[in-house]
């Protein structure tokens, strides 16, 4: 049994990276390994948007990540600088920046890049999807 860390840097519906990462995560778990965490960086931060509304008969990636979290308690960390730049923020960040709306909520957590490096340090295997 090993700890896997995943880095996702592709945006939903413009890159196949999030789909690959999700399939990979499920396959890793099926093998009896653990996923220590998923870190969203670059355009990957869009995966965390709760305002994502794809057609009903298409996989909602945001919800798929939450399901993964709910089933396996996997942390979903989002780079705060990459997110804010792209218009993704939590309620508290929205207040801090004087914005009217927010689109990031638990279990997605806005966090610093230090978390990415920490995830890489403590994962036996670290796989990037971009």
């Amino acid at each position: 049994m090993m700890q896997y860390g995943l880095l996702v840097m592709g945006a939903p519906y413009s890159s196949p990276a999030p789909h690959s990462a999700l399939r990979f995560a499920h396959a890793v778990l099926d093998r009896g390994h653990q996923v220590a965490g998923v870190f969203f960086y670059h355009d990957g931060v869009h995966n965390a948007s709760s305002l994502m509304a794809p057609p009903q008969d298409e996989l909602n990636l945001h919800d798929a990540w939450i399901e993964l979290h709910q089933q396996h308690a996997i942390p979903l960390d989002v780079c705060i600088a990459a997110a804010l730049r792209r218009g993704l923020m939590s309620e508290s960040e929205a207040q801090r920046h004087g914005k009217q709306a927010f689109n990031i909520a638990s279990p997605f957590e806005l966090t610093g890049l230090g978390q990415l490096l920490e995830l890489q340090q403590r994962s036996a295997r670290f796989i990037t999807f971009a």
Binding site: A81, L117, Q121
Partner: protein
């Protein structure tokens, strides 16, 4: 060179094309800020980040050069570039900032093997 615990950050994207370059450099800076030794390998168009005559601010984005200059303040002093990549772009070392180390393309594979941690941008 023996195995190293330094983080190798590979930079492959040019300034003013996407945010890959800036976000790659940010990752390098954060690692260094946390005290991790960081080495940089510039491949392909990533080399354009090292051109010393880059203007500032154009077009409406932060310039890259000040960040490249700032690397030494984070004690990031290994900036590798391959001779072949320079030749492919018809560039000479004179056009690059100081402190760049030229290596041969065949050394790249070895460099990756030596680093236990790698982030590829």
């Amino acid at each position: 060179m023996a195995a190293t615990n330094a983080l190798l950050v590979i930079i492959r994207h040019a300034p003013h094309s996407s945010n890959w370059l800036r976000e790659g450099l940010d990752a390098a800076l954060v690692a260094a800020a946390f005290g991790q030794p960081v080495h940089l390998l510039f491949m392909g168009k990533g080399i354009l980040a090292l051109l010393k005559e880059q203007g500032s601010g154009a077009p409406g984005q932060k310039a890259t050069l000040p960040t490249i200059d700032m690397l030494e303040m984070y004690d990031i002093d290994k900036l590798w570039v391959t001779k072949e990549a320079l030749q492919n772009m018809h560039l000479s070392t004179d056009s690059l900032v100081d402190g760049v180390t030229l290596i041969a393309e065949r050394e790249v594979a070895g460099l990756l093997q030596q680093h236990t941690k790698i982030l590829n941008f």
